[in-house]
């Protein structure tokens, strides 16, 4: 069910946009102002709900009234409590985690809770980022106070309403499990006082619970969508079939940004079910051909039948082998200095590690292929998409359609994974879908169009984790102490040329390229970068820069420990600075729980260790691996997670398990996107390989107890996995993995 009840937002844009622009400008908007603005929205929302036929939800469920102290929460007379999730849900569990925050402060019964994904609107912007988005592992930590305050305010209003009815002071009332309990034992449900509460003023100030009182936050809580996702009833973006929808697939240029030279669409048009064929603008200034049909199958058959001669004349044609050579040459030269240090002791150091690392492009390959439904009309555009980037996409859709952002309705759909691919600064797949809809409209047709990507389109569609070369020269003294470390990174900047450039690219250094290099180790590390320009679109991929930086750091520290003849755990702890106590805590916990150094391993098995902080969370892994007939195998992972306050331990464990599998996937054969003459070599899961069930190690996750506000969890579990595995392989074989995916035979 979508959130048409949020449409009330459109009627009071002045409050919202004023607040939003303050937020976007980074002005210190007080929480109180925010809540008041939200309260105004709540009023509009409720009124909108009473317009007959104005929304599907009202018609379908026919509740008599609804209470919404603000646009994030709806307490219905039937006692259901629906939370608007200001994010995309694509597996990470926020449509359970955010309702937990509200339910906690509201004292709701968990069985009352429901959640819906909010459409694009200013009120749903991330309180820190200033745009509506899902990324940077930021949902729970950024909205931790925001959602709790919403719950606390709603609770105060419900209590006030009940107290008024009973003619007792509100402070004499208690709440528990969705009920208000009066001083003489009177009991009333939230739903039954919701209407009365709606008429009361929004409280200026509420006090949040002392964490000691928490009974929902911190409790392992199954997902609200677990049943729907087990019986096939959960609707994803791809399952959206608005009345009269037609399906389009697009033949995109085989080299990024190329154009259509010659097109013969006659065979495609002859296929039954194919309605029309249009040449359209595609990403990066390219041109493509859209085939529109009654369904996906005829559309795809139509596309297969197109005869297209591509015009590749104006575009750079990247080949991976040439790129690698060029990157290696650059890595040997000093680049833009990102971190300076005195490395004068390097030349005379008695021991040295000289290492060069290679990382390929990686596709995100979420299980649900990209798709986008566009219903374009004169003066309006309604879009349905599983997007991580509502604010940016809404603007891009408006520009492409020649509309104002407020004429664009962008509905957030449940998404089958994303891992970063649905947070695109260029809004590539949405802009393209609008271009298809424009062509369709220009041909005199009307109605919604669903643009669908095949798996091949997805694998070859760009926006990859950038390929990188790292080069490190480390000098060690006789006892194995690191005395100088010269480090160079070569790769494409993700953020240059995007709206994030001004904030996150400083003096030519993209923060995402270097995150996780250096800290927490107290070593004299000089870091420089080379920004390569390549005609391959790149993007963040679960844990972004840490996908490669953690690997380099954690394998090199391990190697230095071996050179020093030290235990790699003890060596790390000695080098971790005093301002990184969480690293030590996490490392100690993983070591203790795994039995590292105490438990005897089976013959041919070895330990590997790594620790890394990303998105504010420290993750330490102790792994057990073997090498059988030249094939490395990961058997067991013991993880310690320091994510501060653990809101939903069940979800934290799931995120760690998932990140471990994805991190492991980067080490396995076939985990690479390569190009030849500008064309991507891989096509599907047959040649772009991902981890499968037999690859999954036994995973045991432990959470460090903490009372500090939560830090990120969607991504931090990924970075330390591959280096821990590599360190175990090095222990077993003496060979250092310098290349991902692992290639032990040629290491």
């Amino acid at each position: 069910m979508r959130i048409e009840w949020m449409n009330g937002v459109a009627s009071v844009p002045e409050h919202v946009s004023e607040h939003a622009s303050e937020l976007a400008a980074g002005a210190g908007v007080s929480r109180r102002n925010f809540m008041k603005a939200a309260g105004v929205l709540g009023g509009g929302l409720v009124l909108g709900f009473f317009v007959p036929g104005a929304n599907r939800f009202a018609n379908a469920q026919a509740p008599k009234a609804v209470y919404a102290p603000n646009a994030f929460l709806r307490i219905a007379p039937d006692n259901t409590i629906t939370v608007a999730v200001n994010r995309l849900e694509f597996g990470q569990g926020v449509n359970t985690g955010l309702p937990m925050l509200i339910a906690e402060e509201l004292d709701a019964d968990w069985s009352q809770m429901r959640s819906e994904l909010a459409p694009a609107a200013d009120v749903y912007k991330d309180p820190l980022f200033g745009i509506q988005m899902t990324g940077g592992s930021g949902t729970i930590n950024h909205s931790y106070t925001q959602y709790r305050e919403i719950g606390a305010r709603a609770r105060a209003m419900l209590v006030a309403a009940a107290a008024q009815q009973w003619k007792v002071p509100p402070e004499k009332c208690k709440t528990a499990k969705g009920m208000i309990i009066g001083p003489s034992g009177q009991r009333v449900s939230y739903g039954s006082v919701a209407d009365a509460a709606m008429k009361l003023p929004l409280p200026e100030k509420v006090t949040l619970k002392d964490p000691k009182q928490f009974h929902i936050i911190g409790k392992p809580t199954p997902r609200l969508d677990a049943r729907a996702k087990s019986n096939g009833s959960q609707k994803f973006g791809i399952d959206n079939y608005p009345q009269g929808v037609k399906v389009a697939v697009v033949a995109r240029p085989t080299v990024f940004g190329a154009k259509v030279g010659k097109l013969d669409a006659s065979k495609a048009k002859a296929i039954k079910g194919v309605l029309d064929v249009f040449e359209i603008a595609t990403d990066r200034g390219g041109r493509g051909v859209a085939v529109i049909a009654d369904g996906y199958w005829p559309a795809k058959q139509g596309r297969d039948a197109l005869l297209i001669e591509w015009d590749n004349s104006g575009v750079e044609k990247v080949s991976s082998d040439e790129q690698l050579n060029a990157y290696k040459a650059l890595a040997a030269q000093p680049g833009i200095v990102a971190k300076d240090a005195d490395i004068s002791k390097l030349a005379s150091a008695p021991q040295k590690i000289i290492a060069e690392y290679e990382f390929p492009y990686l596709a995100h390959a979420p299980m649900e292929p990209l798709n986008c439904v566009v219903d374009l009309k004169a003066g309006s555009c309604v879009v349905w998409a599983g997007t991580q980037f509502q604010t940016i996409d809404q603007g891009a859709i408006a520009r492409t359609a020649g509309l104002k952002p407020e004429q664009v309705t962008l509905n957030t759909m449940m998404a089958g994974g994303g891992f970063g691919r649905r947070a695109v600064p260029t809004s590539d797949y949405l802009v393209e879908a609008v271009n298809v809809a424009k062509a369709y409209m220009a041909s005199g047709k009307s109605g919604p169009v669903k643009v669908m990507w095949s798996r091949e389109d997805d694998i070859r569609g760009g926006y990859y984790r950038p390929s990188h070369v790292h080069r490190a020269e480390i000098g060690l003294d006789e006892t194995g102490n690191i005395v100088a470390w010269n480090h160079t990174v070569v790769g494409q900047s993700i953020l240059t040329g995007t709206p994030f450039e001004s904030m996150m690219v400083k003096n030519g250094v993209d923060a995402t390229m270097i995150e996780g290099i250096g800290e927490p180790y107290q070593v004299p590390l000089k870091l420089s970068v080379h920004n390569a320009k390549q005609n391959v679109p790149v993007l963040w991929w679960r844990s972004v820069g840490s996908t490669h930086n953690a690997f380099v750091m954690e394998t090199l520290i391990d190697e230095a420990a071996r050179l020093a003849g030290a235990d790699p755990v003890a060596y790390r702890k000695q080098l971790i600075g005093k301002d990184h106590p969480r690293h030590i805590t996490a490392l100690n916990l993983a070591v203790e729980k795994s039995g590292y150094g105490k438990k005897a391993l089976p013959a041919g098995h070895a330990w590997g260790v790594a620790v890394h902080e990303s998105f504010g969370t420290v993750v330490a892994y102790v792994v057990e691996a073997s090498v059988d007939k030249g094939v490395p195998k990961l058997h067991q992972v013991t993880g310690a997670i320091h994510c501060n306050r653990a809101v939903n331990p069940m979800s934290i464990e799931a995120q760690a398990q998932g990140a471990i599998l994805m991190g492991l996937g980067t080490t396995l054969p076939g985990a690479a996107i390569t190009l030849k003459d500008g064309v991507v070599n891989q096509q599907n899961f047959s040649d772009y390989m991902v981890a499968r069930m037999p690859d999954m190690p036994k995973v045991e996750i432990h959470i460090v107890p903490s009372d500090d506000p939560p830090s990120g969890m969607g991504e931090p579990g990924l970075p330390p996995l591959a280096p821990a595995f590599a360190n175990a392989i090095a222990k077993l074989t003496g060979k250092r993995m310098r290349k991902l995916p692992f290639d032990l035979a040629n290491a």
């Binding site: 199958w297 649900e368 994805m662």
Partner: protein, 152 residues
């Protein structure tokens, strides 16, 4: 017009006989529980049962299913084994994004129908054709074992 037996009902569909079962289910019949993941029998998201055997509906034309019995995720709640699998999925909080889970449930149900007490190796083998990018494999293993116990 092609007649297909889907979840025990004879259903007439207006589709070319070469159309894969997947697209007939989704685009003709609006049965969206069966998912499109790869279109090439590589990921298992589209798994349905044909006469009880798990098949990849994205590469199986409806012409191959005429006179046969197609069973989809939508029928699993009324199937003893399928329901036990789904209950175990919920108990173990298996799904993350959930997109692959229809296919996982269909493969797991087929496994338990042919092997009441699968070992880890049996599970890995039967489920290796179903990709989950979110990494729910460990919980799937546990849930299959749990379902097996519940059915014993």
């Amino acid at each position: 017009m092609v007649t297909l037996n889907i979840n025990g009902h004879d259903t007439q569909v207006e589709a070319d006989p070469s159309t894969p079962i997947l697209w007939t289910l989704r685009d003709n019949l609006n049965m969206t529980g069966t998912k499109f993941g790869c279109g090439a029998a590589l990921c298992g998201a589209c798994t349905v049962h044909l006469n009880g055997q798990p098949i990849r509906s994205c590469v199986t034309p409806i012409s191959a299913a005429v006179g046969q019995k197609i069973t989809t995720i939508e029928a699993m709640e009324s199937d003893k084994v399928g329901k036990a699998v789904q209950d175990a999925w919920v108990k173990h909080d298996v799904p993350q994004c959930g997109y692959c889970q229809s296919g996982q449930v269909m493969s797991a149900t087929a496994l338990l129908k042919s092997n009441k007490n699968p070992s880890d190796a049996d599970i890995d083998s039967a489920m290796s054709g179903n990709i989950c990018r979110c990494g729910t494999y460990q919980r799937i293993r546990a849930a299959i074992k749990d379902a097996s116990k519940a059915l014993a």
